[in-house]
C-alpha cells in the first residue's frame, strides 16, 4: 500500500501543490490531472522517491520510503518522460539492463512480441521511433513484475493500438491487485473507468 501525508512541493519560489494526502491499496488506481506546469511530474517523482517533498512524506506500507528504499523499489516500476534507453545498445539489451533481476533473453523477446516489437529486437535503440520506445518501456513494465506502477504520460506518442494496449495492461494490472498511479492528458477508456482522480492546480 502506498500512502502520502500532506505533501507539498515548490518550484523555485512558487508553490506547486500542498496538502496532497491519499492512500492506495492493492487493485486501486489514481489518475493525476492538471494543466501543464501544475506539478504532475513533480508529484510522481516525489512518489518514486526521486525528489524530496518540501513537506510531508510518502509511505510504502507503514514505512517512510526513505527508510525502505530497497524494499519499495523491489515493488515499484516508474516510467517518466525519458525512457532511459542507451542509443548504441539494441532494444533487447536495453530491456535486459533496465531489469535488475535475472532474465533470459528468450523470455524478454517474448515480452517484446507482446507489445508488438518483435521486429525491433536487435535494432539499436537510437533507430526506434518515439512510439516504439514507449512500447519498449511497456515491455519493461510487463517484465518487471512490480506491484506498483507509476506512469507519467504513458499514452504520449502511442498509436491507437498502443493506447488500447496500455489500457488493457493497466486494467489487467489492477485485476492482479496492482497499484496504479498515472498522469494523462488523454481520457482513458471505460476499461479503466471509475478510477480516482486527483486534480492539481
Amino acid at each position: 500500500m502506498i500512502s502520502t501525508k500532506n505533501l507539498a512541493a515548490l518550484r523555485g519560489e512558487r508553490l506547486l501543490f500542498r496538502g496532497v494526502t491519499f492512500s492506495l491499496g492493492p487493485g486501486e488506481a489514481m489518475r493525476i490531472t492538471g494543466a501543464n506546469g501544475s506539478g504532475k511530474t513533480t508529484l510522481l517523482r516525489i512518489l518514486a522517491g526521486l525528489s524530496e517533498p518540501e513537506q510531508g512524506q510518502v509511505s510504502w506500507g507503514s514505512q517512510n520510503i526513505r527508510d525502505c528504499r530497497e524494499e519499495y523499489y523491489r515493488h515499484l516500476a516508474y516510467s517518466g518522460h525519458q525512457f532511459g534507453l542507451r542509443g548504441d545498445l539494441t532494444a533487447l539489451e536495453n530491456l535486459r539492463y533496465l531489469l535488475p533481476r535475472t532474465t533470459t533473453d528468450a523470455a524478454l523477446v517474448e515480452t517484446m512480441q507482446q507489445v508488438g516489437l518483435e521486429r525491433c529486437v536487435d535494432l539499436p535503440a537510437r533507430y526506434l521511433s518515439q512510439g516504439q520506445r514507449r512500447r519498449l518501456i511497456l515491455a519493461r513494465l510487463l517484465a518487471a513484475e512490480a506491484s506498483c506502477w507509476i506512469l507519467d504520460e504513458p499514452l504520449a506518442a502511442l498509436d491507437t493500438a498502443g493506447i488500447k494496449m496500455v489500457e488493457s495492461l493497466c486494467a489487467e494490472h489492477l485485476q492482479n491487485a496492482g497499484i496504479l498511479i498515472i498522469t494523462s492528458h488523454q481520457n482513458l477508456s471505460s476499461a479503466l473507468g471509475g478510477i480516482a482522480e486527483l486534480r492539481l492546480g
Binding site: A48, G49, L50, S51, E52, R69, E70, E71, Y73, R74, L76, Y78, G80, H81, Q82, F83, G84, L85, R86, G87, D88, L89, E93, R96, Y97, L98, L99, P100, R101, T102
Partner: protein, 222 residues
C-alpha cells in the same frame, strides 16, 4: 537480485564502451598525444626529457582522467537512465562501485597499457617503468573516484569549468605522491614512502567515494 543488478550494471557500461570504441578510447588517445607532444616541443635534450618525463606523464594521465569524467553520468542523465539507476532495488553505492570499476577498465587500464610507449618517448630508464606503472595503477583510480564525486555534485549545474576548479585541488596530493615516487627512484632513493602515502589515499578514497557519489547523485537528481 542484488548481485544480478550489479553484474548487469557492469555489463551495460562495458558493452556500451565496446559499441562506441572511439568514444571510450578518446582519453587514452589524448594521453598519448599529450605525452608525445612534450618531447617534440622541448627539443632534443635527452637529459631534460628524462628529468621532466615522470612529471609530464603524470600530468597527461591526470588530464586524460579529467577528460573522461563527463562520460560517467552525463549521457545517462540526459536519456533518463540515471532515474532508473536510482530506482533499482540494490544499494546505490554498490551500483556506483560497479560503474566506476567499469569506467576505470575503460580509461585507467588503457592508460597503464600505453605508458611504456610514453616512457620510451621521454627516454626514461627501464628501471623506472615498474614504479611508474605502480604509481599510475594506484593513482588513476584515486583520480577517477575523486573526479566522480565532483562530477556527480556538479551534474545539475552543468558546469564543466566548475568541475575542473573543484577537482584540481583534490588532485594535487595524488599528483605529488605519484610523480614523487618515480622521482625518488630516479634519484636513487626508495619510492616506498610516496607509494604508501598514495596507497593510503587510494584506500580512503575508494572506500568512501561510492557512498559520496551515491549521495551526490540523489541530491543532483532531485
Amino acid at each position: 537480485m542484488m548481485l544480478c543488478a550489479l553484474r548487469k550494471q557492469f555489463a551495460r557500461e562495458m558493452l556500451g564502451a565496446f559499441r562506441q570504441p572511439g568514444d571510450a578510447l578518446a582519453p587514452v588517445v589524448f594521453y598519448l598525444i599529450v605525452g608525445t607532444l612534450f618531447p617534440l616541443a622541448l627539443g632534443a635534450d635527452p637529459q631534460l626529457l628524462v628529468k621532466i618525463g615522470p612529471g609530464a606523464i603524470w600530468i597527461a594521465a591526470l588530464l586524460a582522467v579529467l577528460l573522461s569524467l563527463h562520460k560517467l553520468f552525463r549521457a545517462d542523465l540526459d536519456n533518463g537512465y540515471l532515474d532508473q539507476l536510482l530506482l533499482l532495488p540494490c544499494p546505490l553505492f554498490l551500483l556506483i562501485g560497479a560503474r566506476l570499476l567499469a569506467h576505470w577498465l575503460q580509461t585507467g587500464l588503457p592508460i597503464l597499457l600505453v605508458t611504456p610507449l610514453l616512457a620510451e618517448s621521454f627516454g626514461l630508464d627501464y628501471n623506472l617503468l615498474p614504479v611508474l606503472l605502480a604509481s599510475l595503477a594506484i593513482g588513476t583510480p584515486v583520480l577517477l573516484v575523486l573526479g566522480a564525486i565532483n562530477e556527480a555534485l556538479t551534474l545539475a549545474s552543468r558546469g564543466g569549468a566548475l568541475l575542473a576548479l573543484l577537482v584540481l585541488p583534490l588532485y594535487v596530493p595524488t599528483l605529488v605522491f605519484g610523480s614523487g615516487a618515480v622521482y625518488a627512484v630516479q634519484f636513487g632513493e626508495s619510492p616506498a614512502a610516496h607509494l604508501s602515502l598514495l596507497g593510503a589515499l587510494a584506500v580512503v578514497s575508494l572506500l568512501f567515494s561510492p557512498w559520496a557519489v551515491a549521495t551526490a547523485l540523489r541530491i543532483s537528481i532531485d
